[in-house]
């Protein structure tokens, strides 16, 4: 990589990030600094034109901060970022006209008016020719599956419909580059699948996409390359299959249990050859994921540690997924 960014470079890279940092300071009532947080401590990555790039990481890792900086909503503390060859510190409006942003969650729509009203409004803010918008909006609504409901107030929409409207809103001005910040968060499985299908369609149309998520299967299913971000640093960046290679030495035992507690999880962790145990003990049936180089040979010990009254309902031995690589990366 050269020191200076040339035009040729910007023709390849839709996004080019170098040494990006961001610090947040929290101030008290009198203006004194009470706390400083380094949300990003020097990240580098590039996204090629037409690429679908994923940024994955736990809560608080710095995904939203990165997206806000790249979409010109937040000034970086240090480092540089070029979007379509334009500087995020200087070329605000030109960048904004050429990118689309989808933030996850309920916010960002005018709930008291209709979907069409929302899309018209944002079309106008983005300088879309009203004649074009008039034809484009009904088609967009059809693509996102809201045709027929477009005259209803958005407040009557389900969570999934609102999220699809968010996508339509990000597309009103035909952006080249689209940022999606955890677009499937809080959606039911069918709703999340709809969104993923739309993301795939966008990719097929040649759009460049930056997607953040903390669902690993989502990144694995959609993204060509994935950056793993943890505590404000990119700890790995590769294709999902290369990242999985990092954990090819282990296999995964997935258990579904009844009556298992934290004690059982601790007992499993104490078994030699167990690399990592991740458990969800919240529901009536628990799911426990054990990473081990032993594979099925570990099963007798797994069964032997089971406390009285607990039962294993189901068990499967699996190849490691991106999730397993991710768990290793964000723990280190």
């Amino acid at each position: 990589m050269g020191e200076k960014t040339t035009t040729a470079e910007s023709q390849i890279w839709a996004v080019s990030v170098k040494g990006l940092t961001r610090e947040y300071t929290t101030r008290n009532f009198f203006g004194g600094v009470t706390r400083t947080t380094w949300a990003l401590s020097g990240i580098d990555f590039q996204i090629a034109n037409g690429e679908l790039f994923g940024l994955i990481g736990p809560n608080g890792a710095g995904k939203t901060t990165t997206i806000k900086i790249l979409t010109t909503l937040l000034t970086p503390t240090g480092g540089d970022a070029l979007i379509l060859g334009l500087n995020v510190r200087k070329d605000l409006y030109e960048i904004r006209r050429r990118i689309g942003i989808v933030f996850g969650g309920e916010r960002g729509l005018y709930n008291r008016v209709t979907a069409v009203d929302n899309l018209r409004y944002f079309s106008d803010l983005y300088g879309v020719d009203p004649k074009v918008a008039k034809e484009r909006i009904p088609k967009l609504l059809e693509i996102v599956g809201l045709a027929g409901r477009e005259k209803e107030r958005v407040e009557k929409y389900s969570r999934g419909m609102k999220q699809r409207l968010h996508i339509a809103k990000a597309l009103v001005h035909d952006p080249e580059l689209i940022f999606l910040d955890e677009p499937t968060i809080g959606l039911d499985p069918a709703g999340a699948r709809d969104i993923r299908n739309m993301v795939r369609d966008l990719k097929a149309q040649g759009k460049t996409i930056l997607l953040t998520t903390h669902y690993m299967f989502e990144a694995e299913e959609l993204c060509q390359r994935v950056g793993v971000i943890s505590k404000g640093k990119i700890v790995a960046l590769d294709t999902p299959s290369e990242l999985k290679n990092m954990v090819r030495d282990i296999s995964v035992i997935d258990l579904r249990t009844y009556g298992a507690t934290m004690d059982y999880v601790e007992a499993l962790r104490a078994i030699p050859d167990v690399v990592r145990v991740v458990a969800d003990l919240e529901s009536e049936q628990q799911s426990i994921r054990i990473q081990t180089p032993m594979g099925a040979d570990l099963l007798p010990k797994v069964v032997a540690s089971l406390p009285a009254g607990a039962k294993i309902i189901d068990r499967t031995i699996k190849e490691p997924t991106l999730e397993d690589a991710y768990l290793r990366l964000v723990e280190e």
Partner: protein, 280 residues
């Protein structure tokens, strides 16, 4: 089935003026839709004016009808209603987006925030003007005051100019609200002093001398003077003439606009530095 490829595309609207006009229009239309979508609009626009006039009626029942004092009173109620909505207008311009969760989406648009806010304020102020007209109409009907304006043309001109100066004041207030965490407190505590200072209730000339500099700095003070000169026979107010009032008002309005647009740059810079303007 429509595919993304079939989506119509076209050239952007990118003329300096046409862009702003498009945004202003969009902002006014959306504000109007949001306004009528909430049935509460009936309260400030239909119910409050009735109450205003009713109170005035009982207070001044004994007055001889048709006197210019009553016309003065009705006009004052209308102007007060207009001021009230201006303050409401500024609080409800971009402040609305703040609690509606649309601040981020608004800030992300490739257009200065000031133009979006101006659209919001213009609609809300216009609604205040309609509200004032309504007070005027019911008030006049109630008191059976003949609406004998001294100079209808000048009255109309002064009213339009006052509307614009109220809007620019509202825009300036919007920036102050956005830059201050205690925005709500500021608007609430300003309401009464502003009513008094601009002479909606009684002529500015009757104010204690210390208030006068403040009153003179408020552009609508001059507008209200001009409106009264054009409306009320034999009105004695400030020693300025109608046209002097108008010129001072226009100058102050332009100063407000300049300051508001400058402060909006500060608001945007603040938002970028902190990553948000949303209230949590």
């Amino acid at each position: 089935m429509v595919s993304m490829q079939d989506l119509p595309r076209g050239k952007r609207v990118d003329g300096y003026v046409s862009q702003k006009v498009q945004v202003l229009r969009a902002s006014i239309f959306l504000t109007r839709k949001l306004f009528f979508a909430d049935p509460q609009w009936v309260i400030p626009n239909i119910i409050a004016p009735f109450i205003f006039t009713l109170v005035a009626f009982f207070l001044f029942q004994g007055e001889t009808s048709g006197s210019s004092f009553l016309l003065y009173l009705v006009l004052g109620s209308g102007l007060m209603g207009m001021w009230g909505t201006t303050i409401y207008a500024s609080a409800n311009s971009i402040g609305f987006d703040r609690w509606n969760g649309t601040m981020e989406a608004t800030l992300a648009a490739p257009i200065p925030l000031s133009w979006i806010a101006l659209g919001r304020v213009l609609f809300n102020t216009l609604q205040g003007v309609l509200n004032a007209v309504f007070i005027l109409v019911i008030g006049l009907a109630w008191f059976r005051v003949g609406f004998g304006l001294v100079n209808p043309g000048a009255f109309f001109l002064a009213s339009v100019a006052t509307f614009l100066s109220l809007s620019s004041f509202g825009l300036l207030m919007t920036t102050i609200l956005l830059l201050s965490r205690k925005g709500g407190f500021i608007t609430n505590s300003m309401e009464i002093p502003v009513y008094i200072a601009t002479g909606t209730m009684f002529p500015v000339i009757l104010l204690p001398i210390v208030y006068l500099p403040f009153a003179f700095m408020l552009a609508p003070t001059w507008g209200i003077e001009a409106i009264r000169i054009a409306a009320l026979p034999g009105y004695v107010g400030l020693p300025t003439t109608y046209w002097q009032d108008m010129v001072i008002m226009v100058a102050e309005t332009l100063a407000y606009l300049g300051l508001a647009f400058f402060l909006f740059k500060r608001v945007e810079a603040y938002a970028k530095r902190n990553g948000t303007l949303e209230e949590y």
